[in-house]
């Protein structure tokens, strides 16, 4: 998992991102220096966390507590597993979307294609 450390550091100092974009990857992508998720905020982009295939078991998403989270990915099962981990951290709202899934925790709108 990458990108959570700068959010924690920022929140420790009394600042918070408006929202956090979490992407569940099926592979570990290569980055340009400016595109690294850990540097997203530093480079003026939105807060971004990436979850990789090796991120199994315990994922600590306390950095998104009380925040709006946009969760996406291509592997429905892994996205839903990640959603469970995120919900444990009590975010304000999670909007989850994949090609087959749309779940908005605030509006209770939920659509999972068969």
């Amino acid at each position: 998992m990458k990108g959570h450390e700068p959010i924690i550091a920022m929140r420790m100092q009394g600042y918070t991102p408006r929202e956090v974009w979490i992407r569940v990857f099926d592979f570990e992508p290569k980055y340009y220096e400016w595109d690294e998720p850990s540097k997203s905020l530093e480079n003026g982009f939105t807060a971004r966390i990436e979850v990789y295939p090796m991120d199994k078991g315990a994922l600590d998403f306390r950095c998104v507590t009380g925040l709006v989270v946009h969760l996406s990915g291509t592997d429905d099962e892994r996205v839903l597993q990640t959603l469970k981990h995120i919900e444990r951290a009590k975010p304000l709202r999670v909007i989850t979307s994949t090609a087959n899934i749309f779940i908005d925790s605030a509006s209770r709108e939920s659509r999972i294609a068969a």
Partner: protein, 316 residues
């Protein structure tokens, strides 16, 4: 259109929240690791991690991310040299390596590794380009000689993992990072820090450490002979000892001087790689190695044929 700021001040006491939820976030039900357990079982006895250059070690010794290996040995027994050859093997397997040697200059480190890669003692000047081109993007040297601090080493590990995407970090040696052989608490703290960083950043740390002087060099040291705090070997995942068979060297010299047959002496190994701690594996034991002097390579049998480290990926 109103522009919304990406970052806003926050009145929420996040520091307190993190402290209060530390236990509930980290003490988890066993079924959290269900998928990982299924993966292990479905993979049978599949062994993962980078391997050493010698095929006979592949089933028993591996170097996985998140772990720390302690490389021990007495002075002059070739631990850094053997580790240098292992690093060439990691590079050949596509895994980036950062070497932080506080005991040897980068020039000396690279020269020795180049001889190992060239399989002889006098590689031609054009081999330098071939060797360095092969290492491009895969090997980095921390240019710091003499003493370092745990903070400096920590920063190098973080940089190596996040910026260079390196998978192996060599720290040669512990005594150059923690001053004072009897500074047991500092040694314990540093090795603890190394284990945490290895785990957090998914890299394998190779820590070189000296063993105390034994009464006689023919004795093979083990994990209980490590210099300094006992907690060093307690904390790491693997303990490997490099021991050179100096008695064989002397026997060979005598036999050559007297003109007596050397076959029997040659069949004895020149060095042993002893594993006496393997936390995530079932094997502990000794690996016999033969030394090819001109290439500075350790080989797996008495034929002593050096390996082509630049093409070998899983060893021979």
């Amino acid at each position: 259109m109103t522009k919304l700021p990406i970052i806003t001040p926050d009145s929420f006491d996040f520091k307190r929240y993190m402290a209060e939820t530390e236990s509930s976030a980290k003490v988890l039900p066993a079924d959290t690791w269900r998928d990982e357990l299924i993966e292990i079982v479905s993979g049978g006895n599949r062994i993962t991690g980078a391997c050493l250059p010698w095929a006979k070690t592949h089933e028993n010794l591996r170097f996985r991310g998140g772990e720390v290996t302690l490389w021990m040995g007495s002075n002059g027994h070739g631990k850094s040299q053997l580790l240098g050859q292992a690093c060439l093997g990691f590079v050949a397997q596509g895994e980036g390596v950062v070497i932080a040697s506080f005991e040897m200059t980068p020039r000396a480190t690279l020269h020795r590794m180049m001889r190992q890669a060239a399989m002889n003692g006098n590689p031609p000047p054009e081999f330098v380009d071939k060797f360095l081109d092969w290492l491009k993007g895969k090997l980095w040297i921390y240019n710091q000689l003499g003493q370092a601090t745990p903070e400096m080493v920590g920063a190098v590990i973080r940089y190596a993992a996040t910026e260079l995407n390196a998978k192996h970090i060599v720290i040669d040696s512990l005594m150059r990072v923690v001053a004072g052989e009897d500074n047991y608490n500092a040694q314990k703290d540093f090795v603890g820090q190394l284990c945490t960083l290895a785990r957090d950043y998914g890299v394998h740390c190779h820590l070189v450490h000296h063993t105390r002087k034994l009464s006689d060099e023919s004795q093979i040291p083990g994990k209980f002979d490590s210099k300094g705090s006992g907690s060093i070997t307690d904390q790491v995942d693997q303990c490997l000892t490099v021991w050179r068979n100096k008695a064989k060297q002397r026997e060979m010299e005598t036999a050559i001087r007297k003109g007596t047959p050397t076959h029997e002496i040659e069949s004895k190994p020149d060095a042993l790689l002893v594993c006496d701690k393997n936390r995530h594996g079932e094997w502990e034991g000794k690996v016999a190695l033969w030394y090819h002097a001109s290439s500075l390579q350790y080989t797996s049998d008495q034929r002593c044929s050096p390996l082509d480290m630049m093409t070998v990926t899983t060893g021979g």
